[in-house]
């Protein structure tokens, strides 16, 4: 599903140039659950942003579902993204002005799903994730674990083929964290491909394979299954 070869990404500021990704090559197969680990600043988030088509690489190739997407313009990326990819962030990133229901509904709106279908889908997902009773609350009225469940709900509501999670448990205590990991595992078992960045060896053990990164390189891969 994902095949990147010699991927490069630089950040230039006035004084310095940072090499965030340095000829990184990775492959992720459909249905896999991959964890990405490595010290802070090694380029994990950068990698995820590129995989999620939020950012364009500066060099190398990125084949997504058999299509070369490096060099796609913003419009094409947005189109591909909204149909195929769901995101979960460490800091949840819910829109404060929208309710739980409205937040989860958002991807469906941008995918032009009809209102009646939207309602059905959102309720289904909220039900699955056991946050139905909070549907009319605003994000600030929820605990961190609940907020992250809403974020997961939003990521999956559109049935994406790929879910990208950037330290999804980073802001949660261990019991809430385990719940979220449980959710991701279930999704994976239903066939969704997952790439997850994490600092926690414990969480990484939920995955099939761990990619360890250092200074923009992939250094080792541990296959867990």
């Amino acid at each position: 599903m994902i095949k990147i070869t010699d991927l490069e990404k630089y950040y230039r500021t006035e004084e310095v140039e940072t090499i965030a990704l340095n000829k990184l090559s990775i492959e992720v197969k459909e249905g896999e659950f991959v964890a990405v680990m490595g010290p802070s600043g090694c380029g994990k988030s950068t990698l995820l942003n590129i995989l999620g088509l939020l950012d364009d690489p500066d060099g190398g190739s990125f084949v997504f579902n058999g299509i070369e997407v490096a060099g796609f313009n913003e419009r094409k990326r947005a189109d591909l993204r909204k149909k195929n990819i769901g995101f979960v962030f460490q800091s949840f990133n819910l829109i404060d002005e929208l309710t739980v229901f409205e937040n989860v509904e958002l991807p469906l709106i941008y995918n032009n799903v009809k209102a009646a279908d939207r309602k059905k889908r959102v309720e289904e997902v909220l039900d699955n994730l056991k946050i139905m009773h909070r549907r009319n609350h605003y994000p600030q009225q929820l605990s961190g674990g609940q907020q992250q469940r809403v974020a997961v709900a939003r990521a999956v509501v559109n049935n994406p083929k790929l879910i990208l999670a950037d330290e999804p448990t980073g802001n949660l205590d261990s019991s809430n964290g385990n719940e979220v990991m449980q959710l991701l595992t279930e999704l994976n078992e239903k066939g969704t491909t997952i790439v997850m960045v994490t600092h926690s060896e414990h969480d990484a053990r939920y995955s099939h394979r761990i990619i360890r990164m250092l200074d923009g390189h992939s250094v080792t891969e541990n296959i867990l299954i």
């Binding site: 939020l54 950012d55 947005a78 909204k82 995101f87 962030f89 800091s91 819910l94 509904e105 709106i109």
Partner: protein, 789 residues
């Protein structure tokens, strides 16, 4: 999707009440000002455009050369209309409009003077002034018919039906009401309350067939589809077909279309030159600018708030929003805001209309029943919303989600470059307006303080209406003997107006090529005493002591200079061939415009006989109201039929400043509005900046920075912008005022102090505005600001 946008927009609005308030009030004020100005423009540009046949209606004008310059004017010979109809096949019909001096109407024992027109019978068929009663085709056919407006009919006859009623005019002729016209709209040059047929002039000997007497307006209706150039070609030299008159003036006539009467009919040397259209354009620009300034607030505050909105943008993009849909979302939000502001703007407009009407001397109103108004209103809301929202929309929607969501995105400084530009633009405009206001005011004061050359206090005048001319001596004697008046003089015109001028004077030693134009005035006696003139040499007219003073003359200093007499007293000056001997030399006084140098002036004695006004110097020892009351009794006694209508010279003199005062007031209002809206925006920006830098301020305070130090730090960026604005505004304002002052030969010099004043004023107002937030941020307890994370 739209619903979702509005939800966010509305919740945003409520969550950020302060900013919503600034945005909405700024926009509402800006929109209201623009709407008021547009109402005025709409009125000015629609003058006489409601006539069904407007495209075929023309007015006849003259063009002739005087002292080397082509002059154009629109009073024409009475004979022109019929001659035009006869000789020019393109003309379907021609209608004359004359304006009698205000007629006295008598109905039973009711008396009133009313303004109206004497017109050819086709008037109501040419112009669309609909009749509510009567037939426009026939209403003016009979020589003794009269058409009244609804208001006048009601004033005279109350609720009774006026049709068929009799009105006696000037105590002589009876007229029968044959039509009731709708009141005139507020956008026509015509200004009548009644119409009577031309035949009345013929009967009373007021008609003539002289080609030399330009005394009426002549309108022409072209046949459909004919060429105006062809008509004008034939009209050009029509005068010379009927007269042998070979004045070398190159006298021409031409037809001038209705579409240009109001806005363009200002001729310089025979060509259209500016006119009201210049004002219309200027005000259109001002309206646009005020709106722009209000929109700039919105732009600045929206983009300053970007840090808050950035997260939303990022998330929307992550879940699949295209840039384009975000752009529409943000523009939608600003249209929504403009819509709310629009509602407030309508309220403001409604409240301000009476005052604005007074200022512009017009009855303006908004016709809420007209669907077109609502179409324009909605269009205007969209225009404003898009103008205000487009820059923020593109700014906000271009955020890169991978940056904003990671939290590396920080708009630490509320003053990024485009925002600075916009603030500079606002304040440049504000400072220009302040400078202009100040200079306009100085110019008015300058002219007002100018020595008028005569004593205006307790001086009144009355037109010699009805029997006053006949009974003048009786009235005068009674006014003097009863102690009401100190001095009474009969004159040719009010002292505040010159009605006559001429270059046809002759005196000994006049150079052959001298064409100096003199103001010509006539007085019987005691003018010096009545008007309080200053005599340099000689004396006042005094018919009792010197009966020959009826052919005496008084001249002013400027005249003496032109005539180049060593001693003017005793010299003979001929007006055409009537000789006058000079008995007095007076200091110049302002007869006409206080903005122009006084002209050479001659005052002729009673022999001239052109009397139409009496001036009365009231006895200042009495109460003015008493004086007037007793005067009225005397006037009523000798002029029974006509109303007593006494005018104060000082009030009339003050009216000479009206146009300039209006310009000044308008400039002041625009200046105040601009400053207010701009400061509103500045306040918002300062608030954001203080919020954004709260942590920085905390750290600085912990490290020992003082409150003053921090206030200065936070305020100085803003004040720098105000200073840049000042540097840009000063030369622009100087140039504008320099141009404006060219119209006034008697004018103030532009002083640097005005610029200093405008700069300092703006500086302090903006200092107050930003320092409030800066001080608030500076005195906050740093422990609080550093705890938040």
């Amino acid at each position: 999707m739209i619903k979702n946008f509005f939800k966010v927009a509305f919740r945003n609005l409520l969550r950020n009440k302060g900013f919503s308030f600034i945005n909405i009030s700024g926009l509402a004020i800006g929109m209201a000002s623009a709407v008021l100005i547009m109402l005025w423009i709409q009125n000015e540009t629609s003058y006489d455009q409601f006539h069904e046949k407007k495209d075929r209606i023309y007015e006849a004008w003259n063009k002739a050369e005087f002292s080397g310059k082509l002059q154009c004017w629109n009073t024409t010979p009475k004979i022109l209309a019929r001659s035009m109809e006869k000789d020019i096949p393109e003309i379907e019909r021609s209608v004359r409009v004359n304006w009698p001096s205000n007629f006295l109407f008598s109905i039973g024992d009711k008396r009133l003077t009313v303004k109206g027109n004497i017109v050819d019978t086709g008037f109501l068929q040419m112009f669309s002034f609909p009749l509510v009663k009567g037939d426009p085709k026939t209403a003016l056919n009979d020589g003794s018919s009269i058409v009244l407006t609804q208001t006048l009919a009601k004033k005279i006859f109350g609720e009774e039906d006026a049709m068929g009623k009799i009105i006696k005019i000037d105590n002589k002729d009876n007229f029968t009401v044959t039509g009731i016209a709708k009141d005139l709209p507020n956008n026509t040059r015509f200004n009548f309350e009644y119409l009577i047929p031309w035949n009345y002039l013929v009967r009373t000997g007021g008609d003539d067939s002289s080609w030399g007497n330009n005394s009426t307006r002549t309108y022409a209706l072209l046949k459909p589809g004919v060429s105006i150039d062809a008509a004008n070609g034939k009209l050009k030299s029509i005068k010379y077909q009927y007269t042998k008159d070979n004045d070398d003036k190159k006298w021409e006539m031409f037809l001038y279309p209705a579409s240009r009467w109001r806005l363009y009919s200002n001729f310089t040397n025979g060509k259209e030159d500016g006119g009201l259209i210049d004002f219309v354009k200027l005000f259109a620009v001002i309206a646009l600018f005020i709106l722009l300034i209000a929109c700039i607030n919105f732009m600045n505050l929206s983009t300053a708030r970007s840090e808050k909105r950035a997260k939303e943008v990022g998330i929307r993009k992550v879940v699949g929003a295209q840039k384009q849909s975000l752009v529409s979302q943000f523009i939608g939000e600003s249209v929504f805001l403009a819509f709310i502001a629009g509602i407030f703007a309508i309220i403001i407009v409604q409240l301000a209309l009476p005052a604005f009407g007074e200022l512009t001397d017009k009855k303006l109103f908004v016709d809420y029943t007209d669907y077109k108004f609502w179409i324009y209103a909605i269009g205007f809301v969209f225009f404003t919303g898009i103008m205000a929202g487009s820059y923020p929309a593109f700014f906000l929607s271009s955020f890169n989600p991978s940056k904003v969501l990671k939290g590396t995105f920080k708009s630490a400084n509320a003053l990024i470059t485009p925002r600075k530009l916009l603030v500079v633009l606002q304040f440049t405009f504000a400072i220009i307006l302040i400078i202009c206001t100040t200079i306009v005011k100085q110019q008015i004061d300058h002219a007002r303080d100018r020595e008028s050359g005569y004593a205006k206090d307790n001086l009144v005048y009355h037109y010699l209406t009805g029997d006053l001319e006949k009974n003048y001596e009786l009235v005068k004697d009674e006014l003097l003997s009863s102690g009401i008046a100190k001095s009474v003089t009969k004159t040719s015109a009010p002292l505040t107006q010159g009605w006559s001028d001429s270059w046809g004077f002759n005196w000994e030693g006049k150079p052959a090529d001298d064409k100096t134009d003199f103001d010509r005035y006539v007085a019987d006696e005691n003018l010096g005493a009545t008007a309080g003139l200053t005599f340099i040499k000689g004396r006042d007219f005094d018919l009792k002591k010197f009966p020959t003073d009826s052919s005496a003359m008084i001249i002013n200093e400027s005249a003496a200079k032109v005539m180049n007499f060593k001693d003017p007293i005793g010299q003979i000056v001929k007006d055409d061939d009537r000789p006058y001997h000079i008995v007095g030399l007076i200091k110049d006084f302002i007869l006409q415009s206080p903005y122009y140098p006084t002209k050479p002036m001659i005052i002729e004695g009673a022999k001239n006989g052109w009397f139409s006004v009496m001036h009365i110097k009231l006895n200042g020892a009495n109460n003015t109201a008493d004086n007037l009351k007793r005067m009225e009794v005397i006037f009523k006694k000798y002029n029974t039929e006509y109303p007593f209508d006494c005018k104060f010279v000082d009030l009339e003199y003050a009216a000479k400043f009206k146009t300039e005062e209006r310009t000044g007031t308008l400039a002041a209002i625009f200046a105040a509005l601009t400053i207010f809206i701009s400061c509103l925006g500045l306040f918002g920006l300062a608030t954001y900046m203080a919020e954004n830098r709260i942590k920085e301020i905390g750290v600085r305070k912990v490290l020992g920075a003082s409150v003053t130090g921090i206030t200065t730090l936070l305020s100085k960026d803003f004040l720098k912008l105000v200073m840049i604005s000042f540097v840009i505004a000063s030369p622009v304002a100087w140039w504008m005022m320099h141009q404006w002052l060219q119209d006034y030969p008697y004018r103030v010099a532009i002083q640097w102090q005005v610029f200093a004043f405008a700069g300092l004023l703006t500086f302090f107002i903006s200092l107050l505005t930003v320092s409030y937030q800066s001080i608030k941020a500076a005195i906050a307890n740093p422990v609080k600001s550093l705890r938040t994370e």
